[in-house]
Symmetry: C2
Subunit: 229 residues, 2 copies
Amino acid sequence: MLTQSISTSDMAGKISPAALSAPDQFHMVAGQAGLVATEFSYKKDEEIYGEGEPSDYVYQVIRGSVRSYKLLSDGRRQIGAFYLPGDVFGLESGPAHRLTAEAIVDTTVRLVKRRSLEQAAGITVQVAHSLWSMTAGELRHAENHMLLLGRKNAMERVASFLLEMDRRLTVTGMMALPMCRRDIGDYLGLTIETVSRALSQLHSEGVLGFSGARQIVLRNRQRLRNMDA
Amino acid sequence: MLTQSISTSDMAGKISPAALSAPDQFHMVAGQAGLVATEFSYKKDEEIYGEGEPSDYVYQVIRGSVRSYKLLSDGRRQIGAFYLPGDVFGLESGPAHRLTAEAIVDTTVRLVKRRSLEQAAGITVQVAHSLWSMTAGELRHAENHMLLLGRKNAMERVASFLLEMDRRLTVTGMMALPMCRRDIGDYLGLTIETVSRALSQLHSEGVLGFSGARQIVLRNRQRLRNMDA
DNA sequence: CGACGGATTGATCGTGCTCAAATCATGTGG
DNA sequence: CCACATGATTTGAGCACGATCAATCCGTCG
């Protein structure tokens, strides 16, 4: 891995529009500390890092999307999070990654050495607090997702998913999902068939519209919120 | 709340045996910074803090046990974690608690003001790193639990639970569970009946022994590990 | 000893999974 | 531009696992 196109840029380099909408945590930590970031690109389905591998880098999605997951020995997969443009991922407090990360589509990331971030954290209080905040943000997401996986039914899970993606990636009133039905199922603890049936039902009820399986327009967000328990 | 017996002690005070077995994170952060800790006691089922309330304190279990959970509007509950003697809980990076915490049995905790910890973090790098590590530890647990909730079947979940509790609270070869079947079910995303049936089956297979419903001896840990996918 | 809440066990039900087939979308080469 | 191939998605039919509803049993504490 890490064999694709390589370019180096400082943190003054432009970032994608989507990244600007969220608080730019990467700039906050790396830019502030005057660190140099490198860009890498990964092909669709390429592994960025594997579970158990040393966590030497911290990443930010520039273009594309990333899935982060754990596997059981027989291949059952649980996706813990999707990372979209602007999102930071791969930040660990310990020495190794605890999930595997893969590009969902052709993806470009910015990355900095983790050690240099921690070094900066030893100097600047704000950087230390940023590292903590980012991990706390992931924990918050995981806590909400445990509630979804443990206690919501199929339709509630799909409604939650649609609202989450709507919030994170709707631009022109349209949601362009980067991930396939299997990824959605493995994120929601469902099968692809159950995800598909739920989406079909929402379509037939007029709650959403399709332009191809992965281009979705939400036509009734309030209905979805009501469905989301 | 916070109306029970109150006593003040500095961090040199003795801590419970169970706390000593784990790295004593509370001492690491608070003791190091020379902070004063207070003790409080809660009765069985009493709330320690509620979801959404200001996160002004950080807690450590001294005696007893705590459950931390989220609710859906119709009352469905997902327990995110159990905290046992020695465990730290209630640490937030943001201003509010994101889950509710309740005493499972009569419980005594040690607590320090969160602000004083953050103040210490601004002075000592090690304290800042400890706060981050503790949050990262909770995230690790949540990631493993998402895999359990999303992809494991009932028997695998119960086997995972027993191994976790065995690791965390078996002392004399015996596990004294503080929580009822409903708590276990709400932790594992199952009903009490399903939990009970799984335990009964393990009992009939000789994998475990009972001395009352909550006193369990594991007789074949390897079998449990094999069942845990 | 009695009462109560907690736990177990049984019977039936239903949601979501599995297996299977059809349809659709996307990309490739002629 | 069209025909085709391929993978992704949808739809259908039947099934199984865990939920639900109900009754009994048990342990604990007055």
